[in-house]
Amino acid sequence: MAVITGIKYFKQMKILGFKLKLSEVFFLLSGLAMLISLPWISGSGFNLWLFAKFAYFTGIVFFIADVIYNNKHQ
């Protein structure tokens, strides 16, 4: 419920001129972090790689909330 309320207020964020949904922000963070971490994966990049996974799971939560919200308010 809290997530759905959050979606209602932060449905779209404007970043670098692009209107992005919260789920998109986290998925983009996840994908980019995964790509950036690869050259250093055996050292310091591993933590960034882990962060990419956690950003991914956060993205899923917001994406599900977004689809449920859109379905109810279509």
């Binding site: 789920s23 995964m34 799971f57």
Partner: protein, 339 residues
Amino acid sequence: MELNLPDFIRLLIQLCLAVAGASAFWGFVLTRRAKNDPDHKSEYEKIIELVGKISAFSSVLFLLFWFLASNFIFPAVSLAHEGIKIAPTNEYIRAGFLASTFFVFLFSILVLISIKYLFFNKARFQKLAPKFFLIQFLLVAIIISLQVLKPSFDKEQLFFIFHNFHSIFTLAIVVLIDILYLTTFKNNSLKPIVYNLFPWMSIGIWIGLGLDFASVFLILPGALVLNSQFFLSQTVVAIIILNGTLLSSRVNDYLIDSLKPVETRKFKTSFEQVFHWSGSISIVSWLTIYSVDFFKFNASFPVLFFSYIAFIFLARAVYEVINRKFLKLEPLSEPLGLN
């Protein structure tokens, strides 16, 4: 590249079984949605029949390949997704085939009965469809989870279960979306139902990939092997996430928007190009990480990556041919919708 018949047959088993599972799952979802929307009963029945046919076709192929592999072909070695290596021994794979025999037997009986009704008694099939789809999904879930069986239940066994199970919700849904999109493209009465289901199917894909991510944590850090295969898989997974961001929100919005007449649409017609590229990247990326799962590639990362890019261009070209030959539409004069 090391390509051999056992690896290839196991890839086909996984693909057909996953598509059978995904179509059973979404077939069941469609039967539930149809129950809540009696005004569009006939449209739902057509899509349920279509999903039933996809399910039956993939199930028959699975049974054929499973029979071939379990009886005549020695089980092959497998790698995990994302290039994170954990190779089940042939003993585990053989034990998996043995343990799933009873469930495959039940599955084959169910497939025979559902094919009989699907082709010779459609009214009865529609009545029994929720039960068929639900039982089929449960059986597929059991069979796909038992593909690799260790003598003891530990983290590695749990990894194998998640790792095999998630394909029902990843590659299989991508394949199912492509089939549904192409087969309903010219049918204006079915498109609203199918397009409105796509955001929910996207949730399935995200959760499926999440299951694989979660399963990887069970075998880290020992299973990390930093070779070109690992870097290819990781790069492709990152591209799947970045492309999926576009595909699951903007492209789904675009498809739903395309149900309106051109003059009232939010999206420009040129966005169609973005959609086509995105779709090509998606299917090639998923097929790439599944190929990495079953085959060993000895080439360097740049060679593998440029081959992957070449396949994306090839898929885009194939889609363009299909689009120009078969998928030209007349402009809409009024909005298409469920209401």
